[in-house]
Each structure stands twice: as C-alpha cells, then as structure tokens.
C-alpha cells in the first residue's frame, strides 16, 4: 500500500477539494444543520460513518457486478451504477438507522437521528461516483469516503460556530438566516482557496 497516495487523498478531500465548498456536494445539510454546533457535530459524525460505509459497499457492487472487466457477469452494466448505488445507500442508511435505534438508543440519540438526512445528501452518492471516476482501489475508496466525511464535518462545524456567533450580531434583517449563511460559506470558500494548488 502506498501511504503517500493515501495521504494525498486525505489532504485532498479534506482541505484542497473539500466536498462542500469546493465540489459543492452536501450543501443542503451544510446550510440546514449548521445552526448549532452540537447538531453539526452529530451530523458530521453520522456522515463520516455513512460515507465510509457507502464507499465500501458501492465499490464492491461496482467492481463485482457492474464493471465489465472485473464483474462476475463479464458484461458492462455501468449504466446501472446510479440506480444501484443510490438504492444500496438508501437501504443501507435505513437499515443502519433501525439497527442503531434498537440496539443502541444512546448512540441513536447522538448520531442516529441524523441518518435519514443523509440518504438524500449528494455528498454520499457523490463520493461513491467519484471513487469510480478516479479509479480508486478498494482501500483508497474507503479512505476517500472517510476523508470526505471528515472534510464535510470540518466545514459544517466551523460554519455552525460562526452561525452561533452571528446570533449575537446585528445582521440586517433581510440577510438573516439562509442568506448570511451563504455569505459565510463564500468567505470560507475564499479562505480555503489558500489550500488550492497544494502539492506534496
């Protein structure tokens, strides 16, 4: 295993090509669940979990069912990738939610309640598709999934911090809420440009 590749994937997905503010994936929860730091953190943790799981499972489905070269059927079914991926993600999330709810109610309170939000989060499907596009291998896919989740969590929590502070500010009435959140996101995106073009 080439650790430097993994390192680059990690840095890339967290900072340089951050899923939210560089690739524009997962914006709905980014704006929706960033009012409070606590829920942002919970959401983030849940996303890390689901993204890692989704990366794993979709890579397996793709490799063994869909991709012509490696598939057990030996025919090209890549056109089914969207439908297969989203279906498995949706079911996976729903399944995990039910299991946690029963098995670990505490964990469910902390993380599980965010799970349903994640099905329709493009970041999850996005990471699965990107893994395929980038030709990542199994380990790389998983690492990329986790790193993307961490990157998502990072900006989500930072955003929540700023929004909590904005509660005390005199933001003009018409800019309150969503509009100002986008402006903050813009500021973050400008700041994160500092990571652009990073090479190791």
């Amino acid at each position: 295993m080439d650790f430097s590749t993994l390192f680059i994937i990690i840095i890339g997905s967290i900072f340089v090509n951050n899923f939210v503010i560089h690739r524009f994936l997962g914006l709905c929860p980014y704006i929706g669940v960033s009012k409070k730091m606590d829920s942002a953190f919970g959401m983030g943790m849940a996303v890390i979990f689901v993204m890692t799981m989704a990366s794993t499972i979709t890579w397996l489905i793709y490799t063994f069912f869909l991709n012509k070269a490696t598939s057990i059927f030996g025919i090209d079914l890549t056109f089914l990738r969207t439908i297969a991926f989203i279906l498995s993600i949706a079911v996976l999330v729903q399944f995990v939610e039910m299991v946690i709810k029963k098995a670990a109610p505490e964990l469910y309170k902390a993380l599980g309640i965010y799970l349903p939000l994640i099905t329709t989060n493009c970041a999850v499907l996005g990471v699965s598709l990107l893994n395929i596009n980038e030709n990542y291998n199994f380990i790389e896919s998983i690492v990329n999934g986790a790193a993307a989740g961490v990157g998502f969590t990072l900006v989500l929590v930072l955003m929540a911090g700023i929004r909590e502070r904005l509660e005390y500010s005199k933001v003009p009435k018409s800019m309150k809420g969503m509009p100002i959140s986008f402006i903050v996101a813009g500021c973050m995106a400008l700041a994160f440009l500092g990571f652009s073009g990073m090479k190791f």
Partner: protein, 359 residues
Amino acid sequence: MNLVNVSSSPHLHEQVNVRRVMWTVVIALLPALIAAYLFFGWRSILITILGVVAAVGTEALVQFLTKRPITISDGSAVVTGMLLAFNLPPLTPWWIPVVGSIFAITIGKQIFGGLGYNPVNPALLGRAFLMASWPIQMTTGWATKLANAGVATVSGLKQTLITGGNAQLQNLITSATPLNLAQQIRGDIVAGTAGDSARTIFHQLSSLDYIKELFWGNIGGCIGEVSAAALILGAAILVYKHYIEWRIPIGYIGTVAFLSWMVGGIDGLFSGPILFHIFSGGLILGAFFMATDMVTSPVTKNGRLIFGIGCGLLTVVIRTWGGYPEGVSYSILIMNIATPLIDKLTPQKTFGYRKKSNK
C-alpha cells in the same frame, strides 16, 4: 442642583475607546507606509489612499443606505483600507484597491452588521477576493521595481546567477518576491531538477547580508510588508499601548520559525532558514497587524495562543507545499473561520477552579 448622572460601577475608565485604538493602529502603520514610499515611490501612497478612500466611502454609503448610524470616524474602515492596500503590489492597477475595499467593507464587514460582528478579517477577505479574481494583476505589479531594487541590493545573488549561467533561474528573479523565489527554487531542488547554482542562491537568500536587506525592506513585496523594521516599530506602539497582546504574534512567529527551520530547508529536516522566513513576505505585517485584529481572533487566552500557532502552521504549510508563495493571508483567514470554534473549545478556568471535589 442639576440632575446628576447615575450609572453602574466602575465610575473610572481607562482613557481608551474604539476610535483611539483604531487611529493608533493607523499611526502604527505609517512607518511602513513611509518605508514603502522610500522603496517603491509615490505609487504606493496613491494605492494606499485609494484603498482608504474607497473603504471609508463604501462604509459611509452602506450605512447611509441601510439607515444605520454612520461611524466612519471610528477609523476602522481606514485601518481596513490601509491594510488591504498594504497587501497589494505597489504597481497594481488603480482600480484594484478600490474594488478590493468595496468588497472588503460590504461583504466582509457591513453585511454582518458592521464593526465587531464580522467573522473574518475584511482586509484579508478583500485580498483573497482580489487574488481569486485578478491573479495576474495581483501577482505581477512588483516586477519592474524589484528588478531595480534587486540589482542594487542583491547584487551578489545576481552575480551568482549570471556566472552560474542557468537561464531558467535568471528569469525567476525578475518576477518574484523573495519568498516566491525561494519556494520555486526549493521546489526544483527537492524535485531534483535544479543545478548547483540553485543551491547557492538558496543559501544566498538565507545569508545574513540578505536578511539585513529583508529587515530594512530593500526587497520586492507588497506595499506594506516591505520593511520589517518599520513594521516592528509600529507594532511596538501597539504593544506598548496594550492594544495587541503577545500571544498571537509570538505564537505565530514562533511557530513559523520552528516549522520553517524544520521543513523549510534544502538539506533535509531542521535546516530551514529561520530568519529568512520571519522577515520575508507578510509575516511581520500579518502577525502584528492582521492576525491581531481582535474582532476576528479568539477572546480566550489559550484560544489566542492556539490561533497564533494555527496561523503559523498553516503559513508554513502553504509556503512549503501550497499553490501560493505566500501563506500569511490565507492562514489568517482560515484561522478566522475557526475562531468561534476555538473560543468554544478553550473555556477559561475561573480563578480557584477545581474539579468537582468531594465536599
């Protein structure tokens, strides 16, 4: 008897207010402006004035339009305009500081409610915006002047270049600030594509003679960052007045010093040129005047230290591996964004605080 005043204690107050703080910062920035005039000529003053006028004008206009009290006399817009201009190359087009200031004040400050509410440093946000929008204008304005200054002061360096005969490298110096140069040379050396002359230049850059030039400001760079000496003079005023506190600048510069020593060299770990990294680029300006912007830095004491260290870390990372030669502005911006989080994670222990003792 006329009516007396009643208010809550304390009834004494230090002779300090927002206006005084801001105008003191303006004064503290003047030495650097004078230095810029000496090294770059009138144009640097013109750019600064344009930045300030645009910032103050925008602030007044926005406050007028939103029917808020007009507070331009508190001087914060002046500081913003000035610091924005200080981050521009001296020969940048005239409209760059104007557009930058407008953006800085509207999107960077007033939209959040004005002074005290902005999450990120307006001047740096303005600069980042300009950098993203017009990178050419933002990265080429110092070329000619540096060429002249370069001949006069970095003559030894130039000599090496000519005799070393590496045409590629010769081109570099005409268009880059010292940091840019160092980054590229280092990149080439690490990648193994540079000749011996590159190594010599790199060592030249970290020689004491050259550091002296850096310190006095005889090099290329942005308007405000050129003379470390003038900046330190101004910073001394702020430190003396207790308008800035040691944790951020010391944490910042200390971290940069350590990390650049660790990874910034060409002879393996712990060979980096420390002084070169401290005095080149906008580090002094950033550490004393921009990272210390109280509005956008943490309030807690430990938070401020962490903030400084974080800025230092990011600066070195960007300087060493990033797409930009200079990491100061971006690292401060990124840490600005993390400020509320830092504040939250570094609560202070009340005097006498103990972990729940059994009563």
